[in-house]
Symmetry: C2
Subunit: 325 residues, 2 copies
């Protein structure tokens, strides 16, 4: 991960000073670097060993982080967010223009690095995931304020906006390690299910987080009229009076009043909507863990020392859900 961080800093350089300045703002804000970590971990599970200058997985990991960072920059512009991980967002500091353009730069740079790396399968995975990501974001936009959104549709949205890149990160790790097809598919499934669990928990925390502890703001999704599983669960379980409340506040989020968030939190508690969401997250986390059991016997036989890491990734999946307890 230290090599990956160095790669990220080295490859975001540009003769145009504002680009590394803005990018550094996000790097300094200190994300979890979960996606590049997944590339590295998946590569190791699949038997990749660094030797000499063959550190391809580090470059691929940096690209995945660039693609993720580009979408964060664009999301914050699109949502007019003023905060990101508790600090002023890049658009709040540098303006919307710079954020859109530096996002574009990072995306282009990612494909420059991947081209130099030269693996068409890795590029196929990451360009497809990037297109799916954009589709997921557009789909999320069209479900906003829309309480007729089905749970299936919601799950499609979070697959696109989050799980697709998690899946791609794990799959590229497997490809770099030249894993067999079964192991590659197992790791892809792990990433996809982990991403679903991760986003479900994120959506639950938006109505449940202890802000001081988790650095998350409660109510952002509510204020934006986003249709997430906690809202859908509470809405579907509500009586007509409660459904009218959700319609008023989610379908016309700009006309929310003082006390609305408090009532939303009460209704979510009353209908056990957080439990519903967390149960769904746990299903995905368990599927992620189970997927790792599908790593091929051949792969396991060759990489005898990967067992502790595989176990750790199984624990990560479960911890993803338990962190919210």
């Amino acid at each position: 991960m230290m090599a990956c961080n160095r790669e990220i800093v080295a490859r975001m350089q540009s003769d145009v000073p504002l680009i590394p300045q803005l990018a550094a703002h996000l790097v300094a804000a200190g994300g979890k670097r979960l996606r590049p970590l997944l590339v590295l971990a998946a590569a190791r599970v699949a038997g990749y060993r660094e030797h000499g200058d063959d550190m391809r997985h580090v470059g691929v990991a940096a690209c995945v982080e660039f693609i993720h960072t580009a979408t964060l920059l664009h999301d914050d512009v699109v949502d007019n967010s003023q905060l990101r991980r508790g600090l002023a967002s890049a658009n709040a500091v540098f303006g919307n223009k710079a954020s859109v353009l530096v996002g574009d730069f990072l995306f282009a740079r990612a494909f420059q690095i991947l081209t130099a790396d030269g693996s068409l399968p890795v590029m196929a995975i990451l360009s497809a995931a990037s297109a799916t990501l954009a589709e997921g974001e557009v789909m999320q936009m069209t479900t906003q304020n829309d309480l007729t959104t089905t749970v299936d549709r919601y799950l499609q949205v979070i697959y696109g906006k989050t799980a697709a890149l998690f899946a791609a990160a794990c799959e590229t790790g497997a490809v770099v390690a030249k894993a067999d097809d079964q192991t590659r598919e197992a790791l892809r499934q792990y990433g996809a299910n982990l991403g679903m669990a991760f986003q479900l928990v994120d959506d639950a925390l938006d109505y449940a987080a202890d802000q001081a502890v988790l650095g998350k703001t409660v109510g952002d999704d509510f204020y934006e009229g986003k249709v997430t599983l906690p809202v859908l669960a509470a809405y579907h379980a509500g009586d007509s009076d409660e459904q009218a409340f959700w319609k008023r506040t989610i379908e016309n989020n700009e006309e929310q009043q003082d006390g609305d968030l408090e009532r939303a939190l009460d209704l979510i508690a009353k209908t056990n909507a957080i439990d519903v969401t967390m149960a769904k997250a746990r299903e995905y986390a368990e599927a992620a863990s189970a997927a790792l059991d599908q790593v091929s016997d051949t792969c396991r036989a060759v990489n005898v020392d990967m067992e502790p890491l595989r176990q750790l990734l199984k624990d990560v999946a479960i911890y993803t859900v338990d962190r919210a307890r």
Copy 2:
């Protein structure tokens, strides 16, 4: 070009209906498709012949148009433009969110198509051009409202925002045609110089176009405080009173008053700033034309019937400047 248009429409499809809807809005608005045309023309000059299902240059041409369209969508959001080619801009119709995200989608889709095409050199050219494009846009942003911008810096900006993709379009055409290095470089130089001429004329027209004839609005750059060659030429040739006018209006474009555009046009006429700009454009157009003389003898000997097309491209370069007369 008809095959290319079909490819563009086919490849912008998505299960998320808003994506082709928004993309079709831009396609319907009917751009000149100059960049994909350059891919096809360069490929032909370099000896590419379509036969059977080997229509790779068409796919590459569509990708170049996708990359260009993505930047147009983002530019209009960034500049808050309400019009594009005389019609309501995509952001005016579909909103900023959708425009940013569909731009991201088109960019990702371009690299998906290129990955399937499988040419690493083509991908290297287009990913580098995309990064340069974003750098050019950021650079333009930092020169906005800044009258200390040098002419060299301005030329760097227009290379990044326009000429780099023109150069890349021509170079990828040559690569698809498996041209020798000399021919590839000749076509790249043609594109780069043509792009410079094209942008210089565009910047001149912003202060000179007969709106009814060219569908261009006069004064957009002025209202935005953009520092282009017509402004720099008029500013540098102006007396202290005139320089004070430019400082007030360009450095604080939001405080422009009624009559300011008219005075700007008068000062530009008085200082022959349009002539200065057009003379520079003509230099580049002539360099573009001359670059085509560097197409290798080997290439010319093999492709005896490319001579009329090569001559046409030379004429295009000169016409790029003469269209403004």
